[in-house]
Chain length 351, copies 2
Amino acid sequence: MSNSSKSKNKKPVILTGDRPTGPLHLGHYVGSLLNRVSMQETHEQFILVADLQALTDNAENPEKVSSNVLEVVTDYLAVGIDPKKTSIVLQSQVPDIALLSMILSNLVSVSRVERNPTVKEELRQKGIDREIPLGFFSYPVSQAADITAFKATVVPVGQDQLPMIEITNEIVRRFNRIYNCNVLMEAEAVVPKVGRLPGIDGKAKMSKSLGNAINLKSSSKEIENAVKQMFTDPGHLRITDPGKVEGNVVFDYLDVFDAEKDVLKELKAQYKKGGLGDTTIKKRLNGILQDLISPIREERTRLENDKAEVIKVIEAGTRKANEVVSETLQEVRSAMGINYGSNWSKYKRHE
Amino acid sequence: MSNSSKSKNKKPVILTGDRPTGPLHLGHYVGSLLNRVSMQETHEQFILVADLQALTDNAENPEKVSSNVLEVVTDYLAVGIDPKKTSIVLQSQVPDIALLSMILSNLVSVSRVERNPTVKEELRQKGIDREIPLGFFSYPVSQAADITAFKATVVPVGQDQLPMIEITNEIVRRFNRIYNCNVLMEAEAVVPKVGRLPGIDGKAKMSKSLGNAINLKSSSKEIENAVKQMFTDPGHLRITDPGKVEGNVVFDYLDVFDAEKDVLKELKAQYKKGGLGDTTIKKRLNGILQDLISPIREERTRLENDKAEVIKVIEAGTRKANEVVSETLQEVRSAMGINYGSNWSKYKRHE
């Protein structure tokens, strides 16, 4: 069973996912969703809807998490994630991952977790230091369990998440060394080429909580308003004034979304020289974004009227995840010598 | 289903257990095993063979844990734990406990765990401070998950473990308050009346690692030798000398095991006055211990020749545990609003 399923599937395994704490936006679209749509053709892909991880800093507000699970998965399907090629997995429904996490947490010290720059930075940002929940503090290990449970060898991450993959691979090496095996796999962190999309206000990061995002479920009117509010060049007062292209969010977006690179080049030159108004470039961007989001919104609407389909996708992906992870856990137990079923089979009566 | 199983079982639930890192000894017998044999008549009792917890400080040496699981359960059965009345549960085979542990770890801060006197003392003893494994550091929370998963309201513990029950109850209150429910139950710590049995060398604690224990599986000869080596009164050189009863291990043991309290009282008086030799009191104790352990050893030998029976007991107890814990976890999920199956049932097509 284990061998046949392995030989059937030779594709490298990719694990990716999101904390379901809000609807997905254009930043997710260019930063990860497009990549996933393309990766599912060449990889065995698992997308983890990380509700347990989201609870590590939302324990007092679980409905923020639970209410967004269907939202996020609807976004996945609407942008072209194909459940025949990608398994969409609800983390809290795969208890074996939690068990693996417990096992791996014996292989990493408290101080090693503290030294992790991502955790350090998050501690600093939250300004609550050691008053953070133990679950939040431990999430690098639970993330290592997520990755290794699926034997993922490719993990797309942002630049700031690279230390998390490092800690995962340390744990993997430690496990394989101590238990003298090759059961767990090291993962390669892949940082997507497209960097972060700025918020419409010009802030480095598009984020729901900053209120500067364009969601994939935005209405036509909301997109139009967002583009209208977009930060351009505050010194560009009259059309005839020369304008700045750098730090101009409209041009940042056109760089990403405008397919006509030659036209864009000319527009930039004209804007810099003077004689091109914000209204014109915003109109162009609005048209492009409307064309991009309109079919996504349409598919979203269809899915919202057929939630049963979305739920089926989650259930199927989660069922598959339970099978895969259970197989990994059996190998982990065997390597550690705590695979009692097999240890004890010699004693069993054949009844 | 949930309601009917509740109404069938009105007995209070007791959770107890051991880390399987060695055979059980007379210290366990008087400190916990006898209590369990009696508690199973009045309580719904679960005994957790805590192999996962044992791995938190034995990760590099898992066979120390795995090889002792059958040993410990054989000891349980040999002293009279009745699998019809008590469920013997193998911790690593109940993944839902690990999941509950993850959920509860969001409700307790890192500094709260550090302040726990039991953890503090263990950190001090190990002298490795923050280099301890995260899993070991987190074990108060995983123990809270063990207790609450079974909805245990009675937990027999040693005096030094009282702060662990405190932290469990804090988590329980926090959970019930945040999620506005009564799903988790506070537990009462019960400290057994019989204190610790000293080691045969007079050290306060009988322990396998100190080499001062009398195991339940000791041979007749081993018991005899252990009693011969027992620490008495170093000032009691000649039979005619007055001897001390306090700190005299033979009398400590007689206090616990000698049923003839009047005879014992006379012996003590005689020993204090002078005229009673160590050989005489040791012979008496030896006879008593032989009578005590002989039937246990006999039953142990029978079970060692029928490991299949022992394994069956573990499998049945663990199966029952999985049912009980899964029910608790459903209630936990419902309280938190992450019981998706039920959240989503309204959307499902009836196919």
